[in-house]
């Protein structure tokens, strides 16, 4: 099981499509930096198939005014949660 990190917004980049294709059925996705714009509707729609394993970094959501705006099926994590995700998965792959 892998953790994938994504730091690009789906509104500006076609990268999220590549990441979705690269992910295995149990892999997890963590949205960080500008990637957290993907946690907000309507952009979040492209990640809907990842329900239950799609995370977004709380600090980055808050800084961008998204703390209470993200889709309800996106799981916010703090930095400790970010570390835990990297520890619980075998490897981390960063997409940028």
């Amino acid at each position: 099981m892998l953790l994938h990190l994504l730091n690009r917004s789906p509104a500006g980049s076609r990268l999220p499509e590549d990441v979705l294709r690269a992910m295995g059925p149990d892999d997890r996705l963590l949205l960080i930096e500008s990637g957290v714009y993907g946690a907000v509707s309507p952009q979040a729609d492209c990640f809907k198939t990842l329900k239950g394993r799609c995370y977004a970094l709380q600090d980055d959501l808050s800084a961008r005014g998204l703390a209470e705006r993200h889709a309800d099926w996106i799981i916010p994590v703090d930095m400790a949660g970010f570390v835990a995700l990297t520890a619980e998965t075998q490897r981390t792959v960063s997409w940028y």
Binding site: A63, R64, G65, L66, A67
Partner: protein, 124 residues
């Protein structure tokens, strides 16, 4: 000087999201300096740049300054012409009503004229 630069507003297009490195701040700095020099300045928020206007942003982690304090200073510098690309807004599920600063929506039909009527044009 270009034929007619002096009569036109200076345009700064902002296309990068807040906290996405220094693009947004560096673009705003150009606008503030131009205004301080007495130029009429238009700001056009486009692409991820429209996120700059979303309410409720905070300083970044590690004490990074956000860009909201800078946007609050625009009026003081007499920068009052804020435009926002309507399609970029809609793609991000935003409406002009919920933006923290009032900005005039620009339709796809109006967009070329906003850019063509300004000089110089800085695109960040």
């Amino acid at each position: 000087m270009s034929d007619d630069t002096a009569d036109r507003p200076l345009l700064v297009i902002l296309r990068h999201a807040p906290h996405d490195g220094s693009w947004l701040r560096e673009g705003l700095d150009v606008a503030l300096v131009a205004a301080a020099f007495g130029r009429t300045v238009t700001l056009l928020f486009m692409g991820d740049g429209v996120e700059a206007l979303r309410p409720g942003q905070t300083a970044g982690p590690l004490g990074q300054k956000g860009t909201h304090p800078t946007l609050d200073m625009l009026a003081m510098y007499d920068i009052e012409d804020l435009r926002v690309d309507a399609i970029s807004l809609a793609e991000r599920g935003l409406s002009t009503a919920e933006l923290q600063w009032s900005a005039t929506p620009v339709t796809a039909e109006q967009l070329p004229a906003v850019i063509a009527s300004a000089a110089p044009v800085f695109n960040f």
